[in-house]
Symmetry: C2
Subunit: 458 residues, 2 copies
């Protein structure tokens, strides 16, 4: 029989076990952080009905969708009825609309699942990747306090991820549109064009943006454009910027609304313990054109600004207008965990080499003592320690090498002579500490060598 | 704009938040159990290349596959290159073959992901469902001890799931084939036919199986068939059955091998702490025709035998013969978590009503004190408690009702008068216990009322 080449499809991230452990730790940390703030889990099917998924007026997104067909449908050449989700927002909208009567609002949910996009395969672009989202959905209205809670969640999660310091960039779409109006860019089309240009600021630089603001649809003159960028790019402290904006705000109602919202959000964030060095106002961020309507967030790792935003989101007016007449305003953020993990690995900010699952390896010094090894492993597991038994006979040196490679910190050694004396030896591989104790002391000693607290009595 | 009906595709299990919490608890328990035995996580992409996925000579499986196509491929009417995985075994085989040089053998992995089958939609059949698998893959050989470890994992996990008592049914394919040979059923075709009939024993009963053994391809006569079923159906203790089989075994080498294997597995299980009342030999289970070659397992909940096996698996000779020339014997088990959860809900064995995420709700008695509420929530979160703040102004009675509905056990209450005195009230909803304490005592009192141990100093 001819062999098939075993190969993953292009554009997916498949990890070796040790990397998977490190990635799993990141997902667990994110999830624990979301739960710490009282978000409840939701999972949706990987596919949705095509008509549900593609209600939005497609464009780029529709070109990237993966359609799903059963064998039967394919043979009959029918049009596909299912497609893989390309984000978690459309499924959330469908979920909330479908289960509206069964949910309590404001509805706080987290969802951590993979999404699918038929991207052109290239480095850093994935066709399958995890999104880790939280959203709060209100019915008819949703207090601004929720906008203040999002950065508190971001700060909590990224602190726990231990990937260095980070800065949450804050802006407000009303404020930004107000500033455009004040700068002389009015009307939705000109404003949309200006936002598109501003979005490129990080990539193309100030001069290029000024040029395109003047030559493009926004129709600014050189001094207007420069003035606008000066105002957006101001690098003062949060309170100074807010005070300056406040003095401008009287001139324009949208600007006024935006400043008031931003002030409330900043006050709330501070009360929620987000220190000033972890956030800044960044009036240049726009985040897409139509979706967000108020507060917007982007988050950058201070050591690697080049990674781009690692956690973004914002406030929107109405989640599910395609599926329900109810008005469902919301605010949310998303972490693209697959891309984040790949970038952190590349940047050396996480080290998968030390990641393991087992805490103890019970070695096999004498195959005749296997039942003793089983007993000891069972005792260790009952005490909450992840424990492997060496089940394959091999030289003890190889067994120790395996423990080392698998990042198992502690090994248990017992030969016939020790067994006869009721003794057992424990060795902590990293420190080299080795101790012979009575078998009754196995658990206590293991926990001590692993640096764990004495076990609590249940 | 016309509204789309928000609807999940048929055949999927989508849960409300509270059910999702209960389901997540089950997945976490399974995962923790797998890790307790030192299994490391693996995740594979939801789709595989079609030629990789469908190497097996299809039949039923191939008819149930979901094919995946990007928009571009669909428009060009190309043949699909991708398909959704229908189990975790084929992806494991591909994974091990693809990464063979980077893995340490025996390779112990767990994988808990959803799989897809284009089943006819009907109750209890899902088109998308979780499988939670563990497998150990050896290179060239794999000691029998691994077969003994599987039931120990099953026993550990189902103990932790707390869904009542259960019985692990054990058999061995070599032993079964040996018994068939002794009974006069020889040759692969007749044996395969007999196994197919025996597999139906639970459903159709003894008499129907005897009839079909006599009339079908197995070509037994009535007394041979009765004798075979008597032997397979014996209801004695494990050691008695093993002893009886041992006396038969000399007559047939395959039977002898099977008995020896089963004896070793039983001895190992006992050493690993699986009590005799949690397992039994069941010589009638066959589990498919070609795949398994030695030990096989099925697990039944004692209170609901009608659910069928909730955790099955066995030993196989060669995992990845389609992808590599290496011989990779393995042993594994699988829990179909989606079906299990649906069944447990139906049977009343789990109650999702009490499942929640938040431990504390900081109520909003006075909107002017919001920053104080934020401070308290931040303190509680820093102490490891999942905490929500009531961000929407509403009557306090409604807030308490929300806490109750969301299964939040503890609420924090503070009005202006208490705030002025530096005091705060905590109320445990289930017990009705209410206590006013100084704000500095917030965390200690909260943990006490929640029945948690005093917080350890980090």
């Amino acid at each position: 029989m001819a062999l098939m080449t075993p190969k993953t499809p292009p554009g997916v991230m498949e990890l070796l076990p040790r990397q998977q452990v490190a990635f799993q730790t990141i997902l667990d940390t994110i999830r624990r952080g979301y739960e710490r703030f009282g978000f409840v889990p939701v999972e949706t099917p990987v596919f949705e009905n095509v008509d549900v998924l593609l209600t939005k007026s497609g464009g780029e997104t529709e070109k990237q969708v993966y359609f799903v067909q059963s064998t039967g449908a394919l043979q009959q050449n029918r049009k596909p009825e299912l497609a893989l989700r390309f984000d978690l927002t459309v499924p959330l909208a469908r979920y909330v609309a479908e289960h509206e009567r069964d949910l309590a609002f404001p509805f706080r949910r987290y969802q951590m699942q993979r999404v699918y996009r038929g991207e052109r395969a290239q480095k850093g672009r994935f066709r399958e990747f995890y999104q880790c989202d939280i959203d709060v959905i209100g019915k008819d209205s949703l207090p601004l306090y929720y906008d203040a809670e999002m950065p508190a969640v971001i700060a909590h999660v990224f602190n726990e991820l231990k990937v260095g310091t980070f800065t949450i960039n804050l802006n407000n779409r009303k404020l930004l549109l107000g500033l455009l109006t004040v700068a002389g860019v009015d009307g939705p089309d000109r404003q949309a064009a200006a936002l598109r240009e501003l979005d490129k600021l990080d990539k193309v630089g100030r001069e290029a943006v000024i040029t395109s603001l003047c030559q493009g649809e926004s129709q600014l003159d050189q001094s207007q454009a420069e003035h606008l960028l000066d105002r957006l790019g101001q690098e003062a402290g949060t309170d100074t910027v807010l005070a300056r904006l406040r003095t401008l705000a009287d001139s324009q109602p949208e600007l006024q609304a935006g400043v008031t919202e931003l002030e409330t959000v900043v006050r709330g964030m501070r009360a929620l313990g987000v220190p000033d060095e972890r956030f800044r106002l960044n009036l240049t961020i726009a985040r897409g054109l139509d979706y967000y309507t108020g507060t917007v967030y982007e988050t950058f790792l201070d050591a690697c600004p080049g990674l781009g935003s690692v956690c973004s989101g914002g406030r929107y007016d109405n989640l599910a207008s395609h599926y329900t007449k109810s008005r469902l305003p919301g605010v949310g953020i998303s972490i693209g965990a697959t891309r984040l993990f790949a970038q952190l690995l590349d940047a050396g900010l996480i080290d998968a080499a030390g990641a393991g699952i087992s805490q103890v390896l019970v070695t096999q010094m004498d195959p005749a003592l296997m039942e003793d090894y089983f007993h000891m492993a069972t005792t260790l597991r009952a005490a909450g320690l992840n424990t492997e038994v060496q089940l394959e006979a091999s030289k003890i040196g190889r067994q120790l090498k395996y423990a080392d490679r698998a990042s198992i910190p502690l090994v248990v050694l017992m030969g016939g002579e020790e067994q006869a004396r009721g003794a057992v030896t424990l060795k902590h591989l990293a420190s080299g500490t080795q101790r012979e104790v009575a078998r009754a002391e196995l658990v206590t000693t293991a926990r001590e060598l692993l640096g764990l607290q004495p076990q609590n009595v249940r």
